[in-house]
């Protein structure tokens, strides 16, 4: 007899969390999962350039995509883009975080200043760099001219965004520039969680600065490093505004990574564009899974 109300209240209690997580789940379903489903569906459809569904295309979109002569170069560039930008960003941010963790006059101002590239719209930053890199009147070439370097370069070389290779290098520089603030702050937060006593113990044991950094700072910073790397990989992989604003992925597709390439395909070939979106999505998922697995594996070994 006394069981009846208890069972009801138990059910209510079991369902209660749903009330709390329900909105979040619904939001994810609508904003994240549903577009993924539509994207995958679209990649198997024949869609006219004006957005009309002309029925199933089978795997034709994927076959067309793999027949694109530009695809190989685009994929290779994407790998270079992600690896170089993330690696350089992480290395520079480690140094910057260390610097900002020290006490020095004006630290507060310096920390604020670091936020600027983060707070500015990436598109604006890219636009400013595009202007600065203008061959004739950009501030960079004006400076190079004034110090007498420009004449040795020749007008083709000095046209930074005109040649695919130099344009791509400059775009990586911009990508690193805009990735630094977030990464530095993530690592700075990590540095501040390391207890002081550990450093004191190291000092008492007479360990060198370098030794302390390798054996204490880096290992204890690992959670922050993992999170920062992972978020950077995803961000940089999906990076669009920098490339779009600075070169539109051109000439041809010679400065495109997969994201601008996808956008360029979309104008005329929606299905094929969806196909490369699916592949992009797959690549990100694989990278994340591999990365998580790798870091967990390390954790277990060190334990």
């Amino acid at each position: 007899m006394a069981n009846q109300p208890t069972r009801t209240s138990r059910t209510v209690r079991a369902l209660a969390p749903l009330l709390w997580i329900g909105p979040a789940v619904a939001l994810i379903a609508v904003v994240v999962l549903w577009p993924v489903v539509v994207m995958i569906q679209t990649s198997f459809k024949h869609i006219s350039p004006d957005g009309f569904d002309l029925g199933s295309a089978g795997t034709k979109n994927y076959r067309d995509l793999f027949n694109e002569s530009a695809l190989g170069g685009v994929l290779i560039r994407t790998v270079i883009w992600v690896v170089v930008v993330v690696a350089v960003t992480m290395a520079l941010s480690l140094g910057l975080a260390q610097l900002f963790n020290q006490r020095f006059p004006g630290r507060r101002v310096a920390r604020w200043a670091l936020i600027a590239p983060w707070a500015a719209s990436v598109m604006m930053t890219a636009l400013i760099f595009r202007w600065a890199l203008n061959a004739g009147s950009g501030v960079i070439n004006v400076f190079l001219h004034d110090i007498g370097v420009l004449n040795h370069l020749g007008s083709n070389q000095a046209d930074w965004l005109g040649r695919p290779t130099s344009a791509f290098v400059w775009m990586m520089v911009v990508a690193i520039f805009v990735s630094l603030p977030f990464t530095t702050y993530a690592l700075l937060a990590g540095l501040q969680t390391i207890p002081h006593e550990v450093y004191e113990a190291a000092r008492v044991d007479g360990s060198s600065h370098w030794r302390t950094y390798l054996s204490i700072t880096l290992p204890l910073l690992r959670p922050a490093l993992i999170v920062a790397t992972l978020i950077n990989v995803i961000n940089v992989f999906n990076s669009f505004p920098i490339i779009w604003e600075m070169t539109r992925g051109g000439p041809g597709y010679e400065t495109s990574t997969t994201t601008p390439f996808m956008y360029l395909l979309k104008q005329s070939y929606i299905g094929e564009s969806a196909a490369i979106s699916v592949i992009n999505f797959g690549i990100v998922i694989v990278i994340v899974l591999l990365f998580l697995r790798m870091t967990k594996w390390r954790e277990q070994v060190s334990n």
Partner: protein, 417 residues
């Protein structure tokens, strides 16, 4: 508690977004029997800056129109030329149809049944220049309505020519090559060649015409990878390699790069339209006597024909505003607005009455005379795809293999829409 509140707010926001996304594709007030209607007018921006942006020109018409027709409002969106095609196409792909566009018109929209016939939304189609009727028709029915036209000529800087010791204007490719080399010796750009994505298709066509080539032959067959066209690009490639052009022309755009260079006296030659004239005046570097324009140079001599471009009005039928669109277009096509547009941007009228009014104008007359014999872009539903590919890849022919680049474009054209 707070978190779920945030979640709830987020859901509400997301729901609101979805709902508003749906309703905007419906296009606001439908039917319009008595109720107020807002027309969505999307136009290309012909201005050189905020002071003369096309939204100002259109807003003037719209304000006059609204005074006469208080129950119809018109919302003007001006998009710069670089992005116009893509953004209109994105609106169409997302089913957020504009009511009226002014800029490029593409036959594929007519093919898909998205457009009103010209005769349904314009009272007097016979006043539109008949030279472009064929280009603006699909299956024998006219959908595009010419709004402004232009023809292309070769602009050259007389002052730089004089400094380089050149006495006559360029007429052939050999002239261009020799003159450009002499100008280059002065440290200036010989020929400014915009093969980047803004107008690569126009620049390429002007050069193809010079060698008897083009995009289609007289039967409408695609001949993009013809030997004449390949030869033309090889000539340009060698011109670029010799340093007679601006650096890396494959990535340079018409307005922001080539025409700006010319207007600022940095380049001696470039192919231009009348729209380059206000840029020259605005830059204030060249006096009217410092430059001139002559027919486009062909391989062996000046071309007797040129590229005649016509920008069109198109009326989308998906929002069902036929009566209101008709009222607005009849109003906007008045001669005074045509002439205002032409004076503002140095472009040419697209109506017979407009042409008549300008036929004795010293600046416009030569361009108007070239118009009827002009070569036009292909009229084919696949043109939108072909044009996009030319714009994006033609520049790579200068550094890579012209034959390969043109073969790929020809392939797209032959695949059809």
């Amino acid at each position: 508690m707070r978190r779920s509140l945030i979640g709830a707010v987020a859901i509400a926001a997301a729901a609101a977004l979805t709902v508003s996304g749906c309703s905007s594709s419906g296009g606001g007030n439908k039917g319009g029997s008595g109720g107020n209607v807002t027309l969505k007018l999307v136009v290309a921006d012909y201005g050189t800056g905020p002071s003369n942006t096309s939204s100002k020109y259109w807003q003037g018409i719209v304000d006059d129109f609204h005074k006469a027709n208080p129950d119809i409002s018109v919302k003007v969106t001006a998009i710069n030329w670089n992005d116009f095609d893509t953004q209109v196409q994105t609106m169409v792909q997302n089913k957020q149809y504009p009511d009226i566009t002014e800029g490029d018109y593409f036959p594929n929209y007519a093919q898909e049944g998205l457009l009103y016939k010209a005769s349904d939304v314009f009272s007097n189609p016979s006043n539109l220049l008949s030279e472009f009727t064929k280009l603006d028709s699909y299956n024998g029915t006219q959908y595009g309505m010419p709004f402004t036209t232009s023809s292309r000529t070769l602009f050259y800087n007389k002052k730089l020519f004089q400094q380089a010791g050149i006495s006559s204007p360029p007429q052939s490719w050999t002239d261009i090559q020799n003159d450009a080399a002499k100008v280059k010796a002065l440290g200036k750009i010989g020929f400014d060649l915009p093969l980047g994505s803004e107008e690569g298709q126009a620049e390429a066509l002007l050069w193809f015409l010079g060698n008897g080539g083009g995009f289609q032959d007289s039967n409408g067959k695609w001949v993009i990878n013809s030997s004449q066209n390949v030869q033309t690009l090889q000539f340009l490639k060698q011109l670029v390699a010799a340093g007679d052009t601006e650096p890396n022309p494959g990535t340079k755009n018409r307005t922001a790069d080539s025409w700006t260079d010319f207007a600022n006296g940095k380049a001696a030659m470039t192919n231009g339209s009348p729209a380059l004239i206000p840029m020259i005046q605005k830059a204030g570097v060249l006096q009217a006597s410092d430059w001139a324009s002559v027919p486009i140079a062909g391989k062996n001599g000046p071309l007797s024909t040129t590229l005649a471009v016509c920008d069109n009005v198109a009326a989308f039928n998906k929002n069902g505003h036929q009566a209101q669109i008709k009222k607005f277009l009849d109003f906007a096509y008045q001669d005074k607005y045509q002439l205002q547009f032409d004076k503002e941007y140095d472009l040419l009228p697209a109506t017979n009455s407009g042409v008549q009014a300008l036929s004795s104008d010293p600046v416009f007359a030569p361009f108007l005379k070239a118009l009827p014999s002009g070569v036009q872009y292909p009229n084919d539903p696949v043109w939108a795809n072909v044009k996009a590919q030319i714009q994006h890849t033609i520049g790579t022919a200068i550094t890579g293999d012209p034959q390969k680049v043109l073969d790929a474009i020809q392939q797209t054209a032959e695949k059809g829409a």
